[in-house]
Every structure is written in structure tokens, then in C-alpha cells.
């Protein structure tokens, strides 16, 4: 029936086109909040938007803190936005993109890696708020080591309150240590003691076992060795100022005289003979099969390998404890010690806390969130397990490590108490370029002969000069 077919054909085409058009309009309408970005937490309303690095599950886990905050400040609506990123560098890039798009969050959780970048360009100083609420904040500063606070000082102003932190301590596998016929290392073990320990471990367990495993990155890579050897790949200086904070909150602290207006890394230092010496020591470990050539990346596979007794030692922070526990390690299976001593026993640490953005809609509300997040109540909610080291000394206790270990959990906070010069990761505002310059030359420096080491350090010096050529 031609008529029917024609009608059917016409009907079908028209219907299809209409349906397609309606579908496009419908889909566009349904996706409008996504297309315009109004579904992003805090966008389009007066909520305080908080950006953290993590997954949607991490954002959901913050809900208990948000609920607790709402009880104290029912007038401030808070929305947490979790941003997934490979590392802090990646996270900061995403925040910067949001800034460029004109949709920055009000508050951002920033680690040492980005502290000076934010302080220089994006964050609002906390000085006035701290002066105003000095009485309330006294309790917080009494509980937090000044080294952590100093890491967030920049040109005399404080930009963040440390919430959690981690030092590069040395984890060791207790079974492998026993097998090598060794006891727990002494607190003041030296880099040569460490080498002997590795050699003994290798001798006792030569097959399918790596005595020292380290990764090529800023935290826990070569930097702790440089610090222990009283040097760094950047010249470390300190800026003036900050007396208002130190005299106000740490006047009686024994390390008061050490405190400053913040760290400065203005010049490269890769040509320092001690840098060569430190790299050469690591090159020796690699050459003798006591340590691995460090790979690029975060070392995410490490926990599983350590838990299966295939790694003897590795530098890591308190964040490793929960991971090892979940990987099946008992509290007797591993332990932790200070980083080995060389010319000093200065450690490296990284810390993190909330920064209020210059562009925050309501800075007073943002400060209330920052203040509440640093309270004991909030921090107890956020850190129920040892998946990091809380900045408050009172929280790093027997109870936090019960059932997970390590036996010598006191090492974590004592790293600051016993070694008050322990310092933050070298992270100037140009941190991303600096980190790239470091990482790209480390593998070459420790993987070849002495000539290759010299070339790699020369290359590092040149790359760092380029990275630091534009000072803020």
C-alpha cells in the first residue's frame, strides 16, 4: 500500500526528527546545571565551598565534621568539593584552573608543596583573625609544634593552620631485621649503620628481596638524605618578621629563637659538595644492590610489597600505618625509627591545612571553618585512624595506634620534639618546576658512574636556575 508506506515514511521521519529535537532540548535542559556548573558545591548559593584533594567518598566522610560545624555555626552553610588528583601538584593545577575559570573555591586544603604558591598568589593571611581570636587559639598552638606552624609562614604572615603532617621516618620490616640477626636500630643510628643494616638484611635474605626501597619524588626521596647531611638542593634562608606570632603564642618555647617569618628558597644549591656526597652515598647503595634505582611516581605499590616482606626498609610518614594494617601487617610486623644521622639528624616533613582564598565570598565565615577544623573536636572526627599524623601532639597517643602499631609510634611526634630544626619540603612558589628539575635528574645521578653523577647534578643546577629565574 503505497499511500500507507508514504504516510508511514513521512510520519516516521517527522516523528524521528521531532523526537530527536525534543530529545536534544530535553537532554540540554536536564544537563543545564552541569553545563553551567551550578551543580558544583557552593556555586550559585552563599555556601562556603571547601576544596579538598580526594574522592567523592572523601567528601562524604567530611560530613560528620560539617554536621559538627553546623551545630556551632548554623548560619554558615558548608559544601565540600573533593577534587581527584594524582598528587598535590595535579590538585593545585586543578584549583588554578578553577581560579582561571572564575569559579574558585572559598577554602582549599593545601599541603606544604603548594603553601608558598598559595601564599604568594591566592591565599589570604590569617594574621588579623589570629590576633582577634588569640585567646581562643592559644590552646591550639600549645598543642601544635612550632616547626609545623613555621612551614606555613610566608614573608612574616601565617597563611594556614597545620591540621596533619608527616615526617620522613624510616620504616623497617621487623622479621627481616630479626632474620639478619639485628636488634632495633639505635635512635642515633648513622648513615653507615644504616648501610650495614641493609647489607646484613641482603645477606640473610638474598632472594626476591630489596633491603632499601625509595621512590623518586620530593617527599621521602633524596631530600631526607640531603637534610641529614646538612644540605639541600636549594639554598635555604628565612625571611624576617612573624614576631607577632612567635611572641604571642610561642614566647616560652625553647625553640623560639629559631623561628622566623617563613622559609625562603631563592637559589639552587645542587653544586654543593655535600649534595654530591649524599647522592654518591645513594649511588653506592644502588651499585651494591642494597637499594633500588628510584622510579618516578608515588610508590603506590610499596605498601603491598612491604607487607609481603619483600622490602626491608623505606622512608615514609605516619600515613603508612593504616595502609600497612589494612594490607595485613600485624603490629609486630613492622616498626619505625628516626631517619639515620649524618652530619645532623635533621628530618624532612610535609604538613597540610586550610587556606582561605583571597577571592572567598565571606572570609569571616571561612575563618570560622578554619578555626573549627583546627579544634580537637573536629580533628578527632577527621582522624579516627592512623592514616596520617595529626598536627596536635595530644592526639598522637597510644589510643591512635592501638591494634595497628607500630610499637614505637612515639617516633612520629618526637621527630619534631627531639630535632627542632627539622624542616619542611623545599617548596618555593615555583615548586612544580623545582620538583620536576629534582626528579628528572635523581635517577640519572644514582644509576651510573661518578661522571654521570656529576653531569646529572650540573643538569639539576641548570634546571633549578631556570625554574627559579623569575622571583615573585
Amino acid at each position: 500500500m503505497p499511500g500507507t508506506n508514504g504516510a508511514l515514511r513521512q510520519f516516521t521521519r517527522r516523528t524521528a526528527l521531532t523526537a530527536l529535537g525534543a530529545g536534544i532540548v530535553g537532554a540540554t535542559a536536564a544537563s543545564w546545571p552541569r553545563l553551567t556548573g551550578t551543580d558544583i558545591p557552593g556555586r550559585g548559593d552563599n555556601s562556603l565551598s571547601i576544596a579538598i584533594m580526594g574522592t567523592a567518598a572523601d567528601a562524604a566522610a567530611r560530613q560528620k565534621v560539617i554536621d559538627a560545624f553546623a551545630k556551632v555555626h548554623p548560619e554558615i552553610k558548608v559544601k565540600v568539593q573533593a577534587i581527584q588528583a594524582v598528587d598535590w601538584k595535579d590538585f593545585f593545577t586543578k584549583i588554578l584552573t578553577m581560579v582561571a575559570a572564575g569559579t574558585p573555591p572559598d577554602v582549599v586544603y593545601v599541603a606544604t608543596e603548594g603553601a608558598q604558591l598559595f601564599a604568594e598568589k591566592l591565599a589570604h593571611p590569617l594574621d588579623e583573625y589570629l590576633r582577634r581570636d588569640a585567646e581562643h587559639m592559644k590552646e591550639y598552638f600549645e598543642d601544635v609544634h612550632p616547626s609545623l606552624v613555621e612551614a606555613f609562614m610566608y614573608k612574616g604572615s601565617l597563611f594556614q593552620l597545620p591540621i596533619d603532617w608527616n615526617a620522613a621516618n624510616m620504616y623497617y620490616n621487623t622479621a627481616s631485621l630479626r632474620q639478619a640477626g639485628l636488634d632495633r636500630p639505635a635512635d642515633d643510628w648513622t648513615h653507615m649503620d644504616f648501610r650495614s643494616t641493609l647489607a646484613a638484611m641482603k645477606k640473610a635474605k638474598p632472594q626476591d628481596f630489596t633491603p632499601y626501597y625509595w621512590t623518586n619524588r620530593l617527599f621521602g626521596g633524596v631530600v631526607p638524605w640531603l637534610y641529614a647531611n646538612d644540605t639541600s638542593f636549594l639554598k635555604e634562608t628565612k625571611s624576617t618578621g612573624g614576631e607577632w606570632l612567635w611572641d604571642g603564642f610561642y614566647a616560652k618555647d625553647p625553640s623560639r629563637s629559631l623561628r622566623s617569618g617563613g622559609y625562603q628558597w631563592l637559589e639552587p644549591n645542587a653544586d654543593d659538595p655535600r649534595v654530591f656526597e649524599s647522592f654518591d652515598y645513594l649511588r653506592g647503595l644502588v651499585k651494591d644492590g642494597l637499594g633500588v634505582r628510584p622510579e618516578e611516581g608515588g610508590g603506590s605499590a610499596l605498601i603491598g610489597l612491604f607487607a609481603s616482606n619483600r622490602i626491608g626498609t623505606t622512608p615514609a610518614g605516619g600515613y603508612w600505618v593504616q595502609g600497612l594494617h589494612e594490607a595485613g601487617m600485624t603490629e609486630d610486623g613492622f616498626d619505625v625509627q628516626f631517619f639515620p644521622k649524618w652530619r645532623t639528624q635533621r628530618h624532612q616533613f610535609g604538613t597540610a591545612g586550610y587556606a582561605i582564598m583571597k577571592t572567598a565570598k565571606d572570609k569571616d565565615a571561612a575563618w570560622e571553618w578554619v578555626k573549627f577544623s583546627s579544634s580537637l573536636e573536629a580533628m578527632r572526627i577527621v582522624f579516627p585512624t592512623p592514616n596520617t599524623t595529626p598536627a596536635r601532639r595530644s592526639m598522637v597517643n597510644e589510643q591512635l595506634y592501638a591494634g595497628t602499631g607500630p610499637r614505637n609510634w612515639k617516633v612520629f611526634y618526637e621527630t619534631l620534639d627531639k630535632f627542632p630544626t627539622t624542616g619542611p619540603i623545599p617548596a618555593p612558589p615555583q615548586q612544580a618546576a623545582v620538583e620536576t628539575a629534582l626528579m628528572k635528574n635523581v635517577s640519572l645521578a644514582v644509576s651510573g658512574d661518578e661522571r654521570q653523577l656529576k653531569q646529572a647534578l650540573e643538569s639539576m643546577q641548570r634546571d633549578l636556575e631556570l625554574a627559579l629565574r623569575r622571583q615573585p
Binding site: 598568589k121 591566592l122 622510579e295
Partner: protein
Amino acid sequence: MSTATSTPTGTGKQPGGRQASHKHSQASKRGRVQQRWLPWAFLAPTIVGMGIFTLLPIVASVALAFFRWDIISAPTFVGFDNFAEVVQDPTVRVSFLNTIVFVIVAVALQLGLALGLAIMVQEKLPAWLRVFFRSAFFFPLILSAASVSIFMRYLFNEQFGVVNWLLSLVGVPAVPWLTTPGGSAAVVILVYVWQNFGFSFLLFVGGLASIPVETYEAASIDGATGWRKHFYVTLPLLSPTTLVASVMAIINALQVFDQPYVLTRGGPGDSTRTAVMVIFESAFQRLEFGQASAIGVILTLIIMAITAAQFRLSKRFVFYQ
């Protein structure tokens, strides 16, 4: 067509003639308008999309190459400074050199492997196995390059990787795949070729299928056998396919990023740093968007020059039936 079926007009004497004529002229005018504008109406969404998402970013990127901009502060005009800095930067120079070496080795391997396997699969295997291998070889291409590279990192780990474990079974000592310049470059090329040769393979399979059987029969009658048949019949008649496959392979290889970035982060040293990786690092890690754009412009010009040269040279070696 409306003009063929409409009433003849012009007398104005027939009842309704003027009206009919008017209607006809309106219809034909509408037809002409439709003929002229309808294609543009259908093309409009694509043109607008291309304009907004392709052309505009290209123009913006070229313009940005003359500015210094870190996202946060306002851009400042710096003329050709970005190009001058880029040209003097040893890392950029090494990355371009790496990219060229990578393109030469990876494309040669990719096309060689794809062609060899295509001939083998087309000629030696039964139909059902052909289908299996076509799917199997194409499969890596649909996987995310980043996920594949993460997986390969584990496989090629010096201490705990499966590859070294397999080698140890035959007495080969552990190879530092990802921590030495030679090893990491080899792994990056290997992973890239494994993941990408499937596309060229499919092109060659299609090209082989289009060669008439009679041509081979004629060659056989003339005494050509085995390799001679492939050399004098298959390769010349596959040359149009080879041209397309090589142009696409070279353009893709010049833009390699995922595999070296995830596997080695460009290291050790700069041994696996590629041009696109330097663009990414300049823009999103160092916040030097002007420099990143300048590198992008240079890379685009190189790609255009190589592609143009390929098409020009193709006149000498591409044969059409």
C-alpha cells in the same frame, strides 16, 4: 520536483492562473532558497562546534604564544620572547629530538608489524581465525593509554615485575627497564607500538582485501612466487593504504604523551620527555602558558611540514590502480 508538476503559467487567462503563477514562483523561490541555505543549515552545528572548540582555541593558542600568562595575573605582551626562550631551553630541544627519534622507531615498528601480521592473517589463516586476530590486535587500541601504562609499570618493574621474573626463568639477570635511559625508551616504544599497531593493521587488512585476485594470478603466470609477489604486487598496490597509515601514524606519534608520562614521567633525565609532555609541563606545572603555546605552535608547524612532505613525496611511490 514542483516545477515539473505545476501548471503552465504566463497567459493569465486561466482561472486562478495569476495565483498559480504566483504560487509557482514562490515555490521555486523557496526551492532556490532551500537549495542555497539548507546545506548550510545542516552544516551549521558542525561549523559552529568546529569554530568554538577547534578554530578558536587554535587562534587563542597562537595569540597566547606572544604573551606571558600564569592564569592568575593578567597576561603581558612579550613579542617573540617565548619563542626565543623555548628555542634556547635545552629541555625543549631534547624533547623535540626525542620525539623525532620516537616517531622514526615507533612508526617503522608499528607499520612493519601491522603489515607483516596483516599479510600473515589474510593469507595464512582460516576465516574464523582472521576475525579473532583482527579483534585481538585492535583490542589494545580501545583501552585507555593511561591505564595500560599503569599496568605496564608493574610488569616492567625491575625488582618485582613479571617481565624480569620471566627473564629470570631463562637465566637473564634483572633488567632496569624503567630506570635507565635506554630501558625506559625501549619500554615506552614497545608499549606505544603494542597499543597502536592495531589501527594500521586494520587499514592494511582492508587494503589487502581490495587487491584483485586476478592480479596475483597474472603475476603467478608471469612466474612471480613468494616474496616476489609481495614485493612487486602487494606493496605497490598497498601504497595508497601505506600512505594513509603512515600519515596517521606519524601525526599520532608526534603527539605521544600518555605512555611516557605515566611510565617514566619523562625520565630518567630527559630520556623519554616528548614535545607534548613539555607543553603540558610548561602550561600546567610551571604555569607558563605563553611558552606552552609557543612550543605548541612550533610542534604544529612541524607536523604540518612533515605531512605536506609526505603527500608531496607520495606522488613518487603511491600507485593507484
